[in-house]
Amino acid sequence: MPAVEVDDLVKRYPKSPVNAVDGVSFGVEAGEVFGLLGPNGAGKTTTVGMLTTRVRPTGGTARIGGVDVVKDPVAARRQLAVVPQRSNLDRSISIRDNLVFHAAYHGVPAREREERADELLEQFGLLDRARDKPDFFSGGQSQRVMIARALTHAPQVLFLDEPTTGLDPAARLFVWDRLRELRDSEVTLILTTHDMDEAALLADRVGVMDRGKLLALDTPDALISSLEGEGTLELTADRAADGAVVDALSALAGVERVETVQVAAENGVPEPAESQPLRVRLYLTGDAALSVAPAAAVLAEHGLVLQDVKLGTPTLEDVFIHLTGRTLR
């Protein structure tokens, strides 16, 4: 039995002219890590809201462990846990008590919940702060507490809504490490993100969402290789050049598009393109390696010396651009 089954799920908020979630269907196997990738406002959080019984669907069905979330929300809640985008920790009690009471709400016997709380606090590097109240915790620490709290009742499906948005790089790596550990456990993870690196790194399969619709659904590798033959080639010359070079590069066989890359100066403000050595990115329909020699020849014709070459492969971001014509952010 799939851990999560979603069939033609629709949500329209009152007074809204469009569906926030517009006929989304997918299934997630037990133990899988499933990522919903899309920009803000794509309907990811609303989808998770419906799956976690906090948003009432306008149409369609959603099941957690075979339980219909609308018909039997109580049974659905037994099996799931949610780590929300913003902290919703109980501020009146210590973080250890946050874990212990959460377990109590879910019927974990007294001694077991104490043991499990300590175990998870240690695993999440929070043991030394166990007695502190969540008031003065940083975003990364709150996130860790919330993930630990969610695990105290051993949920079958764990939902994480933008688990690392707004975290500093170190905190983000820590959360990623913990989530990768969870991949090896039996818990099913469903995470939403607008970060393609996060989706590619953590998810077994990724659903690409935009404007309430699920546009594509596959493993990150399969999604990327669906843009088969596409590659990028980044060239840097020894000095600045005029538009004629760009035009000549655009005219090469297999080149879809040429973009002049602006290099940010130290203060973050890009220098004018004319004063910089030429740096361009070629978006190709074919293998990037085959275009290196023709491109170098074009530069030589214009009296430029090629100084650096970077071959690139498409990312999930490119998949998203391919599907929607827009960038993720």
Binding site: G49, R54, H106, V108, L120, A154
Partner: protein, 267 residues
């Protein structure tokens, strides 16, 4: 991943979750006992002291005024404590702390979460009114008391707490966080002074329009019911009328409040 024992899901019953959430609230109250006592005692204590003791000592009020004031202040404490217990945390929990989410995701119906809030408000309200008895004895020297009025006394406290809880539920789910200050000026203050806690309702004959206004405040019936229980010699509204009105008010407020709670809990 370290081995985490899997507890049996069947242990997660709605009643277990309900009890755990109630226990959490009692635990926090116990840990913040001084704050709780200050919140519930201070206001009635000063009202009792100034109106019951100071004005009486100065000769501005009659000797028996403290006797009719005391039941009124019990009513006030019962209603206001329950309302405060519910309204303020609820506005915060739905508004910015979002603390309530963890309880809404516990394996119990949403109505249980609202029901726990009402029960907790009732318990805190009863605790607060019972504390008023020794406080009253301390300040006034003696308080009006009749054992024969005890059933009515208990009914008054419980119904008063439930009316307050109903108001709290309604306001807590209705008021936007940025308007929380308005709760005080627009709701608490009028409720406080039109609830007949400082004057018996029948004596308002002289001020007909105000008598009509006070008749619309459910707290009036709590005050009158408690006067009927403790000082029946003071003219008061018949207890059965009070009980009928209060049962009706509680049903309406709780029904509408729970509906508001659902609206906030589930999109």
């Amino acid at each position: 991943m370290s081995a985490i024992a899997v507890h049996r899901v069947e242990q997660a019953t709605p009643w277990r979750a309900f009890r755990a959430v109630l226990y959490r609230d009692l635990y926090v109250t116990w840990r913040e006992l001084p704050a709780f006592l200050a919140q519930v005692i201070l206001q009635p204590l000063f009202l009792l002291f100034v109106f019951g003791k100071v004005l009486g000592s100065l000769g501005y009020t009659q000797n028996n005024y403290a006797d009719l004031l005391f039941p009124g202040l019990l009513a006030l404490t019962a209603v206001i404590t329950a309302m405060q217990t519910l309204a303020f945390p609820l506005v915060a929990e739905f508004g910015w702390t979002r603390e309530i989410e963890d309880r809404l995701l516990a394996p119990m119906p949403t109505s249980f979460v609202a029901g726990e809030k009402v029960l907790f408000a009732l318990l805190r309200s009863l605790a607060a009114t019972l504390i008023m008895i020794p406080v009253g004895i301390l300040i006034l020297g003696s308080i009006p008391w009749r054992w024969s009025g005890f059933p009515l006394f208990v009914a008054g406290l419980v119904l008063g707490a439930l009316v307050g809880a109903g108001f709290g539920l309604l306001l807590g789910t209705l008021v936007q966080p940025q308007r929380i200050n308005l709760l005080f000026s627009l709701v608490f203050t009028p409720l406080l002074f039109t609830g007949c806690s400082q004057y018996p309702w029948p004596s308002l004959d002289q001020l007909r329009w105000f008598q009509v206004v006070t008749a619309c405040n459910p707290m009036t019936y709590v005050s009158e019911l408690l006067r009927g229980a403790l000082v029946p010699t003071v003219p008061h509204i018949q207890p059965w009328i009070c009980i009928v009105v209060l049962v009706f008010a509680v049903s309406v407020l709780i029904t509408v409040g729970v509906r508001g709670f659902y609206r906030r809990a589930i999109d």
